[in-house]
């Protein structure tokens, strides 16, 4: 067995020796980077996109005035979106539903999954507050009909109602439903649905660009040693290790 491994291992090692990596010095690298032109407007748009998506309304408004960058969404709608999202995060699901409906009545009418998840969250909050009878009635009146319409909803509903069966909910198999993470999950669904209704993507572009940077660096690592960005928050170029 081990002999076999060695034979297989051989070509790999040979290859490694054959392709010695190219070394790019800091000077060369900086020169190359200097040749890349990036338009200021594009940078501003990326910043604006980030502010808008993350919900920094006032910053976005100031940035709009100062930089002259027009957002592709009416800034006033950010407040509405953030308010709906926040309401879910705080457990005020009814309030969140009203806000979504005020924003655009079509969203929950055409997105049964989101509607169900909001109702499910409402049920979870009732259970969290110990309102057992109200929770049961709500599950029966509001959620059961949705379960009849959709098999996967029914399964989720059963899982949620199971919370009522345990004395110590924090330590039961479906206890994760009571976690903050469940609220955040529902809240981000609300966020994504509102953005989608504005024909907007659900993720900001800046993180995608940084992901792309990390990916590109790891591709390049195989071919060259170069000043790398290891810390994204400082974006400093670090000298390549000597080969």
């Amino acid at each position: 067995m081990s002999l076999f491994w060695i034979v297989l291992g051989q070509p790999g090692r040979l290859q490694e020796m054959a392709t010695s990596k190219k070394l790019i010095t800091r000077e060369e690298w900086e020169k190359k980077l200097n040749d890349v032109k990036i338009r200021k407007e594009d940078m501003n748009k990326l910043v604006m996109d980030f502010l808008v998506m993350e919900g920094y309304v006032e910053a976005a408004e100031k940035f709009r005035v100062e930089s002259g960058t027009e957002p592709d969404i009416d800034l006033a709608t950010i407040t509405d979106r953030m308010a709906a999202k926040k309401a879910v995060q705080c457990g005020n699901v009814e309030d969140a539903i009203e806000k979504v409906n005020d924003f655009n009545p079509e969203i929950l009418d055409t997105n049964p999954q989101l509607f169900f998840h909001l109702q499910q969250q409402r049920l979870i909050e009732l259970i969290r507050d110990g309102k057992v009878e109200e929770a049961l009635e709500f599950a029966q009146e509001e959620l059961a009909p949705r379960g009849e319409e959709n098999q996967s909803f029914l399964e989720e509903l059963e899982r949620t109602v199971a919370l009522l069966a345990f004395e110590d909910v924090s330590n039961c198999p479906v206890g994760d439903l009571l976690d903050m993470s469940q609220r955040l999950k529902t809240a981000s669904e609300v966020d994504a649905a509102i953005l989608a209704s504005q024909s907007h993507e659900k993720d900001p572009k800046l993180p995608s660009l940084l992901k792309m940077l990390i990916w590109a660096q790891s591709q390049l690592d195989e071919k060259a040693a170069y000043p790398r960005i290891n810390n994204l928050s400082t974006a400093t170029l670090e000298d390549p290790r000597d080969l």
Partner: protein, 658 residues
């Protein structure tokens, strides 16, 4: 339990109290009630239905109508318009109630309101109504309607342009509609709007599909736009980031390709389209539900595309999805139809289908709750049972397949019955001679029952199935069918214009195996033979003549009595035609099948050693038949030429023997 009641009241007030407050003269009370109603019904089908039943819709439309033009009316309009739209969304009863309450003209009028929020909500609400099949068709031939549509499409508000597109999608149904809109420059407007937001783009793609569907003239207008740039931007959209855009653009392209295949020519584009659709099958929501229908539409009647799709493993993918749990009926139906189209022509697809072991799943779905799924399952089975290889192996003639199909013959929906008949017609052909299973399951009884149905389509398809059942059947099976059907029913089917071709073919199949079977149709003084003769002499339909003369030819294989009966039928002059006999007419005819049928008839009538053969030959000679036969000695149809030789030889030998 007072605590629960109190809690419930706090959560949502009682419907009758809410309705009372809707009717209040106090604007603030009204507004609060509207908001409660809105938040109760949005997304909630059950609540919508119960409020519709309580008659709430006219109240809401009343608030809408009375709030126009008054101060602080905007908030009331926004809320009531949102409610009206929600009632119409996804619930037919809601759309009906909204239309009956007269919401339409009010909403249209409000579109010109200066308040943007009001216009947004109203346009959305109207769009919801237009997405219902119950919405009235918008009449594009009226100038004012056309102008209104153009102004909607020209709006800066994307909810309003989206409404314009939805109106087209809903109402552009005829070639005339398509031409009017194309003539009014709507194509170009839609193309421009494709550059807008996602929402607007998708609405426009649907409208575009409605305008191009089956209309080669409008399609070529579209293709000529901006030197083909409109078409290429459409082609680009099939690779868009949004799955729904990809589907809608593909659907539009399929519509173009089905009418004008030259625009969907390149193999690369076809392959790309197939791969995109396969990938979209994975989409969980409405998009994924609609994809299989697009696949079916793409490959229907197109063997080249079926082959490409097959090579791209489409069948494996479709069958894989079919086996997943909790399929929504819509998606289930689509998958079955797409599989059906793939297996409609290519035997390679059918054998793949059988190797994927989904036959049981498809037969099980014959018992599905949804009639659409049942029909689709039948269509799928009909196409896979076209496999002669599997048929001759008796693959389908077992209770598991036959029983549920016979059940469907009693279904309340005619389309389900017809679909079930189409499968039965295939499987009863069964060369493996297991037809008795079908008899035992009560299938023949049901077919005979449907052959006397009030619905002509059912009658036709039932007789067709019976015809296939008696094909190469043993004598006892044939006897059972005839006993069940009765002579008088058969005679009336032979005389019924649309059904007679199949009825005559049924007789032909019954008679295919010798003298015993001839006795079957010769009961009651040969009224069946008389009926056949009459149809053959009078029929204008070529296929009826062919089936009829073959049936008579088969009767002529019987005894002297049978032969004489046939003689008198075919030598009798036609009723309204020239004085010559129908036999001469067929021999002179252009159709080779008809000539061969007539010659076969003569061969059987002049078969040697019969006591009456000589006299029949004499009669045929007197009627000019032998003379006519001689003219066919060099018939271009080899079959006819060969049979003529036999017939003439029989006649000559007989004369020599004398």
């Amino acid at each position: 339990m007072p605590s629960t009641a109190a809690a419930a009241a706090a959560a949502s007030s009682q419907p009758d109290d809410l309705i009372r407050r809707l009717r209040s003269s106090d604007g603030a009370v009204k507004l609060k009630a509207l908001r409660e109603l809105k938040n109760q019904i949005i997304g909630n089908r059950t609540k919508k239905l119960s409020y519709i039943k309580l008659g709430t819709v006219p109240d809401v439309v009343g608030v809408l109508a009375s709030s126009v033009g008054i101060d602080s009316g905007s908030a009331l309009i926004v809320e009531s318009a949102a409610i009206i739209g929600s009632f119409a969304c996804g619930v037919d009863a809601g759309a009906k109630a909204v239309l009956e309450a007269g919401a339409f003209p009010h909403l249209f009028r409000i579109l010109s309101n200066p308040n943007e929020k009001v216009v947004d909500t109203t346009a959305r609400s109207l769009r919801m109504i237009f997405q219902s099949r119950l919405a009235p068709k918008y009449d594009f031939s009226k100038n004012e309607n056309r102008d209104c549509l153009i102004s909607l499409l020209n709006s800066d508000n994307e909810n309003v342009t989206g409404l314009g597109a939805s109106i087209i999608t809903h109402s552009c149904k005829t070639v005339t509609d398509q031409k009017i809109l194309s003539g009014a420059g709507v194509l170009r407007m839609l193309i421009t709007l494709l550059n807008g937001s996602l929402y607007q783009r998708e609405a426009c793609l649907e409208a575009l599909t409605a305008m191009l569907s089956s209309n080669s003239e409008v399609i070529s207008n579209f293709v000529d736009l901006d030197n083909g740039r409109a078409l290429s931007s459409l082609i680009n959209l099939i690779e868009d980031k949004s799955p729904r855009t990809r589907l809608l653009a593909s659907t539009c392209l399929i519509v173009i390709g089905r009418t004008c295949s030259s625009y969907l020519q390149g193999i690369e584009l076809k392959n790309k389209l197939i791969l995109i659709l396969i990938e979209l099958l994975e989409e969980p929501d409405r998009v994924g539900d609609e994809v299989p229908f697009a696949v079916a539409n793409l490959i229907a009647d197109r063997e080249d595309l079926q082959r490409l799709a097959f090579e791209a493993n489409t069948l494996d993918k479709l069958c894989d999805f079919l086996q997943r749990e909790t399929l929504r009926p819509k998606r289930f139906e689509g998958l079955l139809l797409a599989i059906a189209e793939l297996c409609s022509r290519l035997e390679s697809c059918r054998s793949k289908f059988f190797s994927l072991k989904v036959l049981n799943l498809v037969t099980d779905s014959l018992k599905h709750d949804s009639a659409d799924v049942q029909t689709a399952a039948c269509i799928c089975l009909r196409n896979v049972t076209r496999s002669v290889k599997k048929l001759s192996a008796g693959h389908f003639m077992n209770e598991m397949v036959v029983d549920p199909l016979i059940q469907l013959l009693q279904d309340s929906s005619t389309s389900v019955q017809v679909a079930a008949l189409s499968v039965i017609s295939n499987i009863v052909v069964d060369f493996a001679n297991r037809k008795s299973i079908f008899l035992r399951c009560g299938g023949v009884k049901e077919l005979v029952r449907l052959s006397q149905s009030m619905d002509p389509t059912l009658r036709l398809n039932a007789v067709l199935a019976l015809k296939n059942f008696v094909f190469l059947a043993d004598n006892s099976s044939k006897e059972c069918v005839l006993a069940e059907l009765t002579v008088s029913t058969l005679v009336s089917l032979i005389c019924e214009p649309k059904v007679q071709e199949q009825a005559l073919a049924f007789v032909r199949n019954i008679l295919e195996s010798g003298i015993n079977s001839v006795e079957h149709v010769f009961t009651e003084d040969g009224i069946i033979v008389n009926a056949i003769g009459k149809q053959v002499r009078n029929a204008l339909d070529l296929n009826v003549c062919i089936e009829g003369i073959y049936a008579l030819g088969n009767v002529a294989t019987g005894n002297e009595l049978h032969k004489e009966a046939v003689m008198s039928q075919i030598l009798e002059p036609q009723v309204n035609g020239p004085s010559q006999s129908v036999l001469i007419k067929f021999l002179q005819g252009n159709n080779s099948q008809l000539r061969v049928g007539a010659i076969w008839c003569i061969i059987n009538l002049t078969y040697p050693d019969g006591p009456g053969t000589s006299s029949r030959i004499a009669k045929l000679r007197d009627a000019g038949v032998i003379c006519q036969l001689k003219k066919l000695a060099d018939d271009p149809c080899l079959d006819a030429k060969f049979r003529v030789k036999t017939a003439l030889l029989q006649c000559v030998n007989n004369s020599c023997a004398k």
